[in-house]
């Protein structure tokens, strides 16, 4: 873990993110087709990239060691509600909203506690939650199936459910007055998530929906009444009314004989659809009447309850012949009147009971404290048999305990959730803000927010397709971020051209010039070792690494054809082009360019016989011989190639002092020959003699000329 020193105590005291290592049973990964039969003499296991293990087998076959290496991908242990590709899509998609929010934060520190700050966070939250799956089902078909009670929708994820919970409680300031109704909507969307391990109203309705097709007279089926009561209790009014209308008394042939019964069913359906709701608006397909202000709502509520009581005491019940209908409807009226024991009977887990209490017993509950008290009461009535991860989160939120919420996020939903949810937790809450931004000495001086970002960045950087996203999160970490980013960049394989260019781009964006310079040097050396001399020179030049350029220059010159007639020099043209016009960056290789120019002018001398061209070539020769970067092994071939210039008929092209320089070089060369490591040129033995003679003749002519 970054920033943690190993000597600061036992391991458990360091784990801020709780580990649940003891709760999981070990997973067995069978290794098939490794193709080797026992006995194996050696087996070694090491980490490869990401969550893959590299397993190497070594087997001895009579002094010949054979082996095989396989990679084992460790899959997600929680069964995978979200596939790897989907997870990556969420990771990709959350980069832009996160970066935008950070830049807003940095641009205006003071506005953090402003009224409109939460609106920015709200935009961020909406964008993130849109990545987590579409909760709104696709447009309903125009001709609806009359027996389709529940809308078909994409299977929601608990990740999205958790995100919405945080949004409701921490960010959306508009909904503070009607949180119970928001929770009701939330449960309507996500009750199915709880179905996996325990009965739920949703599961009940789904089961009943399947039966519905085969049932002749629904009102005779006790399931029908149970399903409706349950749906009514959790406030899915549209479902209840739709089910009520399936009642047999609505059939044309029965309408005459069951008039009173039908009247009662319709009266209950009407009351349900007129239920007052304490919320600013209702979606089109939802039932009820919304009221924004408390007095208005109270008035409507009292009136509505009076109507229910009136219906409950009506004389028509006595005239209703169908007993199941009578009992069922009466039961529903009791639910609407808030009969606690019936509510407890028709709901399955404490959150459902909690919602029903909000709806029919305590519609005026406000404030987290009273909500928490009510939740505790509901949990007492319906003890938790299976603790779903969302329940832990809800309890943490209602307890107003940021640490618990964070721990639940981390344990159940992973580092992605924690990193991104912290932005929601700190929106407008000064207490959470100080908790998460306080530097912790036991974390090596970083804050909790930074810790989670670093953990998330580490996960990103372990995957070949997401490592470059990690840079965004690392640069948002004040203390350790840049250091870890450097490490990450150095770890990238330079032999992959694309990865190298991407790393350099990240350096450019973050002003890490020295890192990119070092990477270019590493790349240069890598390519040099692999014989890609052009790429090597390019990268070393980009890094302005004269030291290495000079060193490889010595090796390169060994390959250069030293005689003018050498055709192989054509290959070098491209390399010389690469060196460019600026000599500063070429280092010792600058010689190549001068050499090429000299050869060109010499070529012209060999072809035509103008004295000016010869004069130019002679000047190029002198400047080459004067230049300290001209390698020693070139001196003699250069002079030998220029014999024609030295013996120029018309006039001496080289003056006295220049001739002396050339003679001195010859002197140096004969001294150098005595030293070890001298490389003899492959010129004919009389070459040196003829050069000496030509130089001497030239000297004489030059002296006479002057």
């Amino acid at each position: 873990m970054p920033g943690v020193t190993s000597d600061s105590g036992e391991l458990n005291s360091l784990s801020v993110v709780p580990h649940s290592s003891d709760t999981q049973s070990p997973i067995v990964y069978p290794l098939r087709n490794h193709g080797l039969s026992p006995p194996l003499i050696r087996l070694s296991i090491s980490w490869a990239r990401g969550n893959t293990l590299r397993v190497s087998f070594l087997q001895s076959e009579e002094h010949n060691v054979v082996g095989k290496v396989v990679e084992v991908k460790l899959t997600n242990t929680d069964g995978g509600e979200i596939t790897d590709a989907q997870r990556r899509r969420i990771e990709y998609g959350s980069v832009a909203p996160f970066a935008l929010l950070q830049s807003h934060k940095n641009s205006s520190i003071t506005s953090l506690y402003d009224k409109d700050w939460w609106e920015r966070v709200m935009e961020y939250s909406k964008e993130i939650s849109s990545l987590l799956g579409d909760s709104k089902s696709s447009a309903a078909p125009i001709i609806g199936d009359p027996k389709a009670v529940l809308r078909k929708m994409e299977e929601p994820t608990s990740l999205r459910a958790a995100w919405e919970l945080l949004e409701i409680f921490y960010v959306d300031k508009h909904c503070q007055t009607w949180i119970p109704e928001r929770l009701l909507d939330w449960l309507a969307d996500f009750d199915c998530l709880f179905s996996g391990n325990q009965p739920t109203v949703h599961a009940k309705l789904v089961a009943f929906q399947e039966e519905l097709v085969t049932i002749q007279a629904v009102e005779n089926d006790p399931e029908y009444w149970q399903a409706m009561s349950s749906a009514l209790a959790v406030g899915w009014l549209d479902v209840v009314v739709k089910l009520l209308r399936l009642h047999g008394s609505y059939l044309f042939d029965q309408l005459g004989s069951r008039e009173i019964e039908n009247g009662l069913v319709e009266a209950v359906a009407l009351l349900i659809s007129q239920m007052p709701r304490m919320r600013p608006y209702l979606l089109a397909e939802k039932l009820g009447e919304s009221y924004q202000t408390k007095p208005e709502f109270m008035k409507a509520w009292e009136k509505w309850r009076a109507q229910i009581t009136k219906l409950d005491c009506s004389a028509f019940w006595l005239q209703c012949d169908h007993q199941k209908t009578r009992d069922g409807l009466k039961n529903m009226l009791q639910i609407m009147l808030g009969n606690a024991s019936i509510l407890s009977n028709v709901t399955y887990h404490w959150i459902e009971l909690y919602i029903s209490h909000f709806l029919y017993i305590r519609p005026f509950t406000v404030g987290l404290e009273s909500m928490y008290t009510l939740a505790q009461k509901c949990m007492n009535l319906k003890p938790i048999l299976y603790r779903h991860k969302l329940m832990g989160l809800i309890i943490g939120i209602l307890e107003e305990n940021t640490e618990v919420v964070l721990a639940e996020c981390s344990r159940s939903f992973g580092p992605w959730m924690t990193t991104h949810a912290i932005e929601l937790l700190t929106a407008g809450s000064i207490q959470a803000e100080t908790l998460l931004h306080e530097q912790q000495s036991k974390l090596g001086g970083i804050c909790i927010e930074e810790l989670h970002r670093l953990v998330y960045a580490q996960i990103l950087s372990s995957h070949a397709l997401t490592w470059n996203i990690a840079a965004i999160y690392l640069t948002s970490c004040m203390k350790q971020g840049l250091g870890l980013l450097e490490n990450l960049l150095y770890k990238q394989p330079v032999q992959h051209h694309q990865v190298l260019l991407k790393s350099i781009e990240i350096c450019r964006l973050n002003g890490l010039d020295f890192v990119s310079c070092n990477m270019m040097k590493i790349a240069g050396v890598h390519y040099w070792k692999h014989g890609k001399k052009g790429s090597a020179v390019f990268w070393l030049q980009q890094a302005r690494d004269e030291l290495r350029l000079n060193r490889i220059a010595k090796h390169l010159f060994d390959f250069v054809g030293k005689s003018i007639s050498d055709e192989g020099f054509k290959q070098w043209e491209g390399m010389i082009e690469l060196l460019g016009t600026e000599s500063k960056t070429a280092g010792g290789l600058e010689f190549l360019k001068k050499y090429r120019d000299f050869r060109r002018s010499l070529q012209q001398v060999h072809e035509g016989i103008t004295t000016e061209a010869a004069q130019k070539a002679a000047e190029a020769l002198i400047s080459l011989m004067r230049n300290p970067s001209t390698p020693q092994q070139f001196w003699l071939p250069l002079l030998h190639d220029s014999l024609k210039l030295l013996n120029w008929k018309e006039r001496p092209l080289i003056n006295v002092s220049q001739t002396n320089i050339l003679l001195n070089k010859l002197q140096d060369l004969s001294l150098a020959r005595l030293r070890p490591g001298f490389v003899e040129t492959d010129l004919p033995p009389e070459a040196l003699k003829s050069i000496r003679l030509a130089l001497a003749t030239n000297l004489g002519r030059a002296i006479l000329n002057e």
Binding site: K533, F538, E573
Partner: protein, 361 residues
């Protein structure tokens, strides 16, 4: 909106005269191309994909129906390693793909169904040392030229299955990064150090012309990532590469490159649309037809070109005009292709495992 596989959803946005469909792919897209199409109602798309979960590279063809903007998988062939360059032939249903491991694969495609079949492959041994960095199919589909960082230039004759001829070997002194045919006998290679070489097969032994990037005051050097040559102006070579550089090189005036964009290059050091690598350049015939009509002095001007970049920009640039941004993404746009038969349609691959199909109206 229609979906390709079980979980991918297309998002469609319309901004002004531009319609954009984004289709998540669940695989990294190394390269992509339009296949020539027989009808405007169904078109085929070629994707060089890399599945990082299973570490398997593949070449896929998908059917795109513009009316419902849906993508359906037609065929998927596994390839020996990841694809570095993908080219289609304008006149024949032929596809060439070069691989990271250094081989060349030639496929035939059925233009009606969009199915693919491997015709032959040039094996790695002796062909290139390491990855093949660029390939191009000649216009009549008879030859494929390939270049690599190893400094080799090879010519594969498609009639002679599996054989190749070495045009040049610089023994690693020059690292080539891109190649493009100019005529049946000429091609241009791009290299490190913004080097462009003009090759003429009638003049063997080395490049026929070298481009000298003598830009004044330029400190940056870079790599040419992509080259394009317009079929009607074979003497002008358009190149794009590092630091947002896009320049045109006229073989008749080899000393004077025309710089269209770039940071620290030439005389326009600051106002560049793109500051990072330009991954691909292509002449944009669509913009050509709409804008050039009212400018008379068009013969010496560089035709409009489309670019895509590491910093997530897909744009059309033109000499002396403001660039038109078609797409701005938070991630890199790695490659794109303009439909040759229907140049209003553009296909591009995004770094974050998705592709985008743009329709200009």
């Amino acid at each position: 909106m229609a979906v390709t596989t079980t979980t991918t959803t297309t998002t469609t946005t319309t901004t002004g005269p531009l319609q954009i469909h984004k289709v998540p792919q669940d695989t990294y897209i190394d390269a992509l191309r339009w296949l020539p199409h027989l009808s405007t109602f169904t078109r085929h798309i070629l994707l060089a994909a890399y599945d990082s979960d299973t570490s398997t590279p593949s070449l896929k063809s998908l059917t795109f129906s513009p009316s419902s903007s849906s993508l359906t998988l037609q065929s998927s062939l596994s390839t020996p390693s990841r694809i570095t360059s993908l080219k289609t032939c304008p006149s024949k249903p032929l596809i060439a793909a070069s691989t990271f491991s250094g081989s060349l694969l030639i496929y035939a495609s059925d233009l009606v169904t969009g199915s693919l079949k491997l015709e032959f492959s040039v094996p790695e041994k002796g062909f290139h040392l390491g990855a093949v960095s660029g390939i191009d199919l000649s216009e009549n589909g008879s030859d494929c030229v390939s270049v690599g960082e190893d400094g080799r230039v090879n010519l594969v004759s498609l009639s002679d299955m599996g054989g190749f001829r070495r045009v040049f070997d610089s023994n690693g002194l020059v690292s080539y990064s891109a190649v493009k045919w100019a005529s049946p006998v000429e091609f241009v290679t791009g290299a490190f150090g913004f080097g462009l070489h003009w090759w003429d097969q009638r003049k063997p032994g080395g490049p026929a012309a070298l481009f000298k990037g003598n830009w004044t005051g330029g400190t940056a050097s870079g790599i040419v990532h992509s080259i394009d040559i317009h079929p009607s102006r074979k003497h002008v070579c358009l190149a794009g590469g590092s630091s947002g550089a896009v320049f045109a090189w006229d073989i008749r005036r080899p000393q004077q490159p025309v710089i269209l964009s770039g940071v620290g290059i030439g005389d326009n050091p600051t106002n560049s649309l793109v500051e990072s690598d330009i991954w691909e350049v292509q002449y944009d015939n669509y913009t050509n037809s709409s804008r050039m009509s009212n400018s008379s002095s068009s013969s010496s001007r560089i035709l409009p070109a489309m670019i895509c970049s590491e910093d997530g920009i897909l744009a059309v640039i033109e000499q002396g005009e403001e660039p038109i941004e078609l797409l701005v993404e938070p991630c890199a746009i790695n490659s794109f292709d303009i439909d040759r038969q229907n140049p209003s349609d553009v296909l591009c691959s995004l770094e974050w495992e998705s592709i985008a199909i743009l329709t200009r109206q």
